[in-house]
């Protein structure tokens, strides 16, 4: 009698205040059957990783529209490493220029979803990546 659910943390690191995208993703993933923990705006990488560990999530989704995606994501990756939590799947969404996608993936980001991505794409990617 196992009722496993995929748990996803949706967080916005840094200082941009554009929350709409993160919310749409959060609602959409809920409707796809995931348990979504939404932590809101202006979270530091430390706060994000600490929340992810307490909530024992399978996935962290970062929404970044400030242009600082490279440095913010690197900080989250570093935090995850220092907490030995690299097993958590990291995905990034927002305004990400095409040429930065490769750099993000090199850092260890599993999936990058730029503006215009459908929620179903994100949900599908998570379902496939997280073995249930």
């Amino acid at each position: 009698m196992n009722n496993k659910k995929i748990r996803v943390l949706i967080a916005k690191p840094g200082l941009d205040g554009h929350e709409r995208g993160a919310r749409i993703i959060a609602y959409g993933l809920r409707d796809a059957g995931f348990e979504v923990i939404y932590t809101g705006l202006r979270q530091s990488p430390e706060q994000i990783v600490s929340a992810a560990l307490q909530e024992d999530v399978d996935v962290i989704g970062l929404s970044i529209l400030s242009g600082a995606h490279l440095s913010l994501t690197q900080k989250v990756v570093d935090q995850l490493k220092s907490k030995k939590a690299e097993d958590i799947l990291l995905i990034v969404g927002g305004v990400i220029p095409e040429q930065d996608v490769a750099s993000l993936k090199e850092m260890g980001v599993a999936g990058v979803f730029t503006a215009g991505s459908a929620v179903s794409q994100v949900a599908g990617f998570i379902s496939e990546s997280v073995a249930c």
Binding site: N2, G33, E35, Q54
Partner: protein, 322 residues
Amino acid sequence: MQASWETLLDGVKKGNERSLARIITLVENRENGWKDAMKRLYPLGGKAKIIGVTGSPGAGKSTLTNSIARELVSRGRTVGIIAVDPSSPFSGGALLGDRLRMRDAVNLPEIFIRSMATRGALGGLCQGARDVSRILDAFGKDVILIETVGVGQDEVEVVKTADLVMVVCVPGQGDGIQALKAGIMEIADLYVVNKADREGAHEVAADIGGMLDIASEGSGPRPPILKTSAINYQGVRELVDVLVHGFDAGKNRADWRALRIKEEILSLMESEILHYLQDKWDRTGDLDKAIHQILKQQTDPYSAADSLLPLMREAFGIKETT
């Protein structure tokens, strides 16, 4: 893959937060071995005080929980928070957003926050929350706050597992007591009128007082009613004073404790039996057959339940009685 239960239990004993978080997940998911793990954790706990926080949506429960936790930490206590939100009955998913309002609690290392979805499991949520609070207790948290929306039977059951139940009201929601009709009134040890900086707070407090006077005539002192403005930390110190005092006065609830244990054993049995039978019926297809027949108006749910009884007797080796 997953670290073994043994390693995780060891981690919990040593105060490792990641082990704690993982063990909560495994128990919540009812992974094989969860009950054995709970058996091992049970004797480690029993020291924590458990506070249930409930009230209508938007009453400020998360903000209040945050301020209470902050105040408790400043008094040298460690705190666990279980924030329960409903699962969607359609998708099974949930949006858990209580951390948003816990701006201090998320930054204090003495506080561990866990968001929990109701998951709509048969008799599940109540036991699930009870399990999580027990794990936090075994981990060594001094106070555990269980926060849940005060609508629906499940949520009421959840707060009933607490040592102390706090009902949060706010001005501007009808006569303020509308939300409390569904059996919550009887289980509250304490009322908080939050957002007390707003107009009408005094009236809400007076309303509740009046209602309690009618309800509790002759049955001892009525529960206290406090006013807070959680977002400004106003009234929170006084509230925590009352809570801490309530911990010590909790002795008079020994009969309650016995009742709760009884309920817990029964609910564990219930879900065990239900899962067992459901599994069996799923495999034989008898349950599906019965549903189909009812849909085609060939039989009714009562007859179907009766016709499934022999299977159950067989399963448990019970001889047919009258």
